[in-house]
């Protein structure tokens, strides 16, 4: 499903990944771990064509990554970065925008699915009526996960999905991801969290 073949990621003179390879199969639940600055986020971004690839090849599904295929690849992928700031006043507006990006209309049936996902992630429905400034970083991250999951993408790339969470909320997220994995999704997450990596089917250790 995801293949990195001898890739080199370089920012100027600084090598972040040097001749790195990995192969992730459909339905895998992978944790990318390692010390800070070892290239975890860069590897995640490389699958989307968002990191400067100096050498090597990347394949996502049927597409070999290039300037011409990156758009098609990104339409197969759910991507949740860490510390996402939302330039909206109301939470509802942020959700609507995310869904519109995925070509979905925020109608009654979709709302019901969103509520169901939010419940699985330990979030109350009334969160949607709040101002973005009123909700915590952890709530924002889980809410975006709940909304993005409605896009029904094959591959999920998540950067520190449990970083801002307490133990209970973290378990909600892990259980939700395992449920998605059982539905055939391929999940690749960057995490420092040992409790998270313990429940993944595969660990990629960098650095």
């Amino acid at each position: 499903m995801l293949l990195a073949d001898n890739i080199v990621i370089r920012f100027g003179e600084e090598y972040v990944l040097d001749r790195f390879s990995c192969h992730i199969h459909r339905g895998d639940f992978v944790c990318i771990t390692g010390m800070s600055g070892c290239g975890k986020t860069s590897l995640l971004k490389a699958f989307l064509g968002l990191a400067p690839l100096a050498a090597g090849e990347i394949r996502v599904g049927e597409y070999m990554l290039s300037e011409h295929t990156c758009g098609a690849i990104r339409k197969q992928v759910l991507y949740l970065p860490q510390d996402l700031a939302l330039p909206y006043t109301m939470v509802d507006e942020a959700v609507t925008h995310v869904l519109r990006v995925g070509g979905l209309r925020y109608d009654r049936s979709l709302k019901a699915l969103l509520y169901a996902n939010m419940k699985k992630l330990g979030l109350d429905e009334d969160l949607l009526g709040k101002r973005v400034a009123e909700i915590s970083g952890g709530q924002r991250q889980r809410l975006m996960l709940a909304a993005l999951s409605l896009l029904n993408r094959e591959v999920w790339l998540l950067d520190e999905p449990t970083a801002a969470l307490d133990k209970t909320s973290r378990d909600y997220v892990i259980d939700f991801l395992i449920e998605q994995q059982r539905c055939g999704k391929t999940i690749v997450a960057v995490s420092h969290d040992v409790c998270f990596s313990d429940r993944c089917s595969m660990i990629i250790q960098l650095g």
Partner: protein, 263 residues
Amino acid sequence: MATIDISYLYLGVGLLLLLVPVYYLWRFETGLLKGFCVGAVRMIVQMLFIGVYLRYLFEWDSPWVNCLWVLVMVYIAAETAVSRTNVRRGMLMMPLVVGFVVASVLIGLYFLGIVLQLDNIFSAQYFIPIMGILLGNMLTVNVIAVGTFYSTLDREQNLYYFLLGNGASQGEALVPFVRQAIAKSFSPTIANMAVMGLVSLPGTMIGQILGGSTPDVAIKYQIMIVVITMSASMLSLMIAIRLSVKKAFDGYGRMNKVMRGNG
């Protein structure tokens, strides 16, 4: 009814009023005194020079010379806009020039040719002041909007990559940043427009009334001035952003270095 001229002696008497802001800028140690004095002197000298060459432009009244003069104004406006934003010059200069030229030609000539129905749309009496007011407004809006667009994009790259990474086209991923740039640059104009005539009496209208026009003629011109400046500002901004983003991103949609001084 002819306008009463101001002699240079009494212009000097009028300039004494500058002592009011000068005193308070000095009294409260604002640090703005030097800038204020330099700005005031520059304004007086520049306006006196403009008075001289506008007199020649009006005497010659040649379409070619007038167009050349407008092109000089466009270049100075673009140069000023580039220097006031922190965006790389090579990325912004040409998009601004194209935006200013296209917007002033389309909107300005629409007003002069279709609304005013002038026989000679390049007549210096109309062509030069209309282009001047359009460029002045386009400059203000573009400085604020383009600066906001790229500085926000540079600061909040995470949001842009989040939208792009989830399958948005580059245009869709840039929407929040364009929206913010428009809101910041047009909000003062929109607020001002809403109270025009109630709270503020705009300069063009006052100038025309002082120049001998009747109030109803002055009002119609003022309405059209607001309309054409808003339209030209928006059009030039959209062109400048559309053209400059071509240089701001690579083939994958990754952001190049757009701001000056960040490497």
